[in-house]
Symmetry: C2
Subunit: 267 residues, 2 copies
């Protein structure tokens, strides 16, 4: 291991430190196996209560793991030691009036004393649990981003936050899908059990080969597409909310925490 | 309630007593809600060890709840007070060399000091749990026996016992099927989670409209067939085993026990 190089052996705190120092700005896929990685959403305090309620009303796409202890507080002590939400993701997204305007490496310059950060569970955690059970995750096998789709299912709105449920899709045999439902049920804080399987048109997806986000994957004969609520949903809600200013992590560039995936299991 | 009439209020012990006295010989569907009903298999001691092993190797179709404390013992103390396996099912089936030859109301005259009874979990228990969650069970709605099918999946054999897995089928929307998988996972001793959903041909079923046992049910647009391992499987294994003599309950005429369905939940 080169000094300063991030690999699968790098501990979470070191990944965060290197992201913070500008020495790492890549995706966190496959890093820190066993540890929870989070979606991050940062909004001004004025909108924090509504966003928290949006998460509460839509727990499958927006499973809230932790929020800032107080407005302006840059730590997330529930998730790790010395976390700084301004710098510890490898890359961020800046949103103005619902438009993506920049993907900076940190948000320190833009940070405000009224900012509140929300950390939401991420599919990496349940993918790890599925792989540990011997199931194949097609997007990992094919080395691409998981395909994600806007559905026709409306989220429960809260204040300015609303929008369609976004789902991720992983093809499986029915037998493996049943096993995946069992495994993911143990992990409600990282999207939990799938929300649908089979016919995509039943949830308003016209064509599996043209995902709205990520990349298409192959579906083999005898497999069915299995759909999970997806952490891109809050980004769609941010687009709808058109806040003057908000930040998220950049997709795949997650906040790596000190919390273990195993510790998220409810049973 | 007429004296001597069995209805949904009749306690398990009274149902058994009336079946034993010849005052009740009907099906037990819908009786003693909340209590476990069992499939019964009775074989000579010579075959008991192999049959127990067959159950052990095929726990989904043959979830063993209790067996006779000793050969010739007619009680099942784990499942209820004063159970007499010779008389307490409303109706039995007599098998000779793998052929169904009679459906007597009791098997007292044929009982042998070397007979061993096995009580296996039954789908009534998980159907109750699904209904309690608000799910519709089509065969109940349509007032028919659940459709059951021989599959092309071979059970693990043990001694003379072998044969194809038999499955029961209940159509559901994908959303309800996911919920049913979660609920049934809590009840491994009554067939547990489904073994398959969707395309019947994947498990060797050519036509849903012609079940091998029971009655066809309608499948609505947007629903998928969901398949559970079925307690008819051991009857198929008995056909294969061609024992000189064996007994089972008659389908639907179950042994009603004092054990609660809720008590079977593993979580």
């Amino acid at each position: 291991m080169e000094p300063g190089e991030v690999n699968a052996e790098t501990p979470p705190a070191q990944i965060r430190a290197m992201a913070s120092a500008g020495g790492f700005c890549g995706t966190t896929t496959g890093l820190a196996p066993g540890y929870v990685q989070c979606n991050l959403v940062v909004v001004p305090e004025k909108y924090a209560s509504d966003f928290a309620e949006f998460c509460h009303r839509n727990p499958k796409p927006c499973p809230l793991l932790a929020r800032s202890p107080a407005p302006g507080d840059t730590s997330l002590p529930e998730l790790g030691v010395n976390i700084d939400v301004r710098t510890d993701c490898p890359r961020y997204r800046r949103w103005e009036s619902g438009q993506l305007v920049d993907e900076p490496l940190d948000i320190g310059d833009a940070w405000g004393d009224d900012f509140v950060a929300f950390a939401l569970g991420c599919s990496f955690s349940f993918e790890e649990a599925l792989i540990a059970d011997g199931l194949e995750i097609r997007n990992i096998t094919e080395g691409v981003n998981v395909p994600m789709y806007r559905t026709d299912q409306q989220c429960q709105s809260a204040g300015p936050f609303s929008g369609q449920l976004v789902v991720s899709m992983r093809p499986m045999t029915p037998k493996n899908a049943i096993r995946a439902i069992q495994i993911c049920t143990r992990f409600p804080s990282v999207h939990g059990a799938p929300v649908h399987f089979g016919d995509p048109s039943q949830i308003g997806i016209p064509d599996l080969s043209t995902p709205d986000f990520g990349d298409p994957v192959s579906v083999a004969p005898g497999e069915v597409p299995v759909f999970w609520a997806c952490g891109v949903t809050p980004q769609v809600a941010l687009e709808q909310a058109k806040l003057p200013l908000a930040f998220t992590h950049s997709p795949g560039h997650m906040l790596v925490t000190d919390k273990t995936n195993a510790g998220l299991a409810i049973l």
